[in-house]
């Protein structure tokens, strides 16, 4: 890259950083404009983490291949009783075992 192209990249990164910051402050700015939170909106807000994080999990389960799906399934069972570090360790062991022993 020459220096003009490089400055271009720096500007893109800065614009991406600004866009990201706007998403991080946007919800707060909107919600504090309201005097009180109606019960239905509170129910909606309470569902946010599970709703968003599910969209990062489910597609990986469907399109990550059967080895990833198997590892996630075992990790899910582990997660019902143990912490997420155990989920990561067991899930990783399962996928490594499938890739290097079974396949």
């Amino acid at each position: 890259m020459d220096s003009t192209e490089h400055m271009h990249l720096i500007y893109i990164i800065l614009a991406a950083a600004l866009a990201t910051f706007l998403t991080r402050i946007g919800g707060y700015v909107m919600i504090t404009q309201m005097k009180r939170i109606p019960p239905r909106m509170e129910a909606a807000l309470n569902s946010v983490p599970a709703a968003v994080l599910s969209t990062l999990v489910a597609p990986a389960f469907i399109s990550g291949g059967w080895d990833v799906a198997a590892a996630m399934l075992v990790a899910l069972i582990v997660g019902l009783r143990f912490s997420s570090l155990w989920m990561l360790l067991v899930g990783w062991l399962v996928v490594m075992a499938i890739r290097h022993v079974v396949m």
């Binding site: 707060y28 909606a44 969209t55 999990v57 990790a75 890739r99």
Partner: protein
């Protein structure tokens, strides 16, 4: 007290740092692979500080996609933060303006999840705790980005060492952590199915926002649990 809170935050964020570190290194390696210098990679990690969107950004940059589309994609991947910051407003009313600036700049998925859980347990959400939790993730994220960028070639195929499975499992652990909330199962089911359908029919990264909104709308429409006697009140301040 403040110092105790800070170190409590550092201890709480430590497992997050451990599980995020491979992704920091992976980002650094992929960034260099897509034409970034080591400085560019660390600059992006330090200013954007949102792993999944950073991955999307370098991928598009590597394919010479127009700048406005790169920025829009980063915005779309990070759109969920709008929901986080709206939901978190209840817990950080007592922060100063400057503290709020840093609070939102450092707002990443596990940081949000832990803040909500801490508030749910009835423990005080102090800025010292928040900053401690954030710093043990933010600073190593920069360091691992640099390491990954420098030793990029040595990581090779991330699948061969099983790196690709860690992120979805980590997010799954976070989902499980909220399983005692009202309507958890229907929300998870609807968001999951909607995101899979949106991935198929609309494409990435919109499946994240579409799937999330589907689950949230469901929660807003389902019958309310009985124990809500009074809605939460917010003071008017920005």
């Amino acid at each position: 007290m403040t110092k105790d809170d800070f170190w409590q935050g550092v201890r709480g964020g430590f497992p997050v740092m451990v599980s995020a570190s491979p992704f920091g290194a992976l980002f650094g390696a992929l960034a260099v692979d897509n034409g970034f210098s080591v400085f560019d990679a660390v600059f992006m990690s330090a200013t954007v500080y949102a792993g999944a969107s950073q991955m999307v950004g370098i991928e598009l940059f590597g394919h010479n996609v127009q700048p406005w589309l790169i920025v829009l994609s980063v915005f779309a991947v990070n759109f969920r933060h709008i929901l986080y910051s709206a939901s978190m407003a209840r817990h950080i009313r007592h922060f100063s303006m400057l503290q709020k600036f840093f609070t939102f700049f450092l707002l990443v998925d596990p940081q949000y999840a832990e803040t909500e859980k801490r508030a749910e347990r009835g423990e005080p959400v102090t800025f010292a705790w928040y900053l401690g939790f954030a710093m043990i993730i933010y600073l190593p994220w920069q360091f691992m980005t640099m390491l990954g960028a420098i030793f990029g070639q040595m990581i090779g195929d991330p699948r061969a060492i099983g790196l690709d499975v860690l992120l979805p499992i980590y997010f799954m652990g976070l989902v499980l952590g909220f399983r005692r909330r009202d309507n958890w199962l229907p929300v998870v089911a609807v968001s999951s199915l909607a995101s899979i359908a949106a991935l198929h029919f609309v494409g990435s990264p919109w499946h994240v926002s579409i799937g999330a909104i589907a689950g949230i709308l469901l929660a807003a429409c389902l019958p309310l649990p009985k124990q809500h006697e009074e809605p939460v009140t917010l003071e008017h301040e920005v």
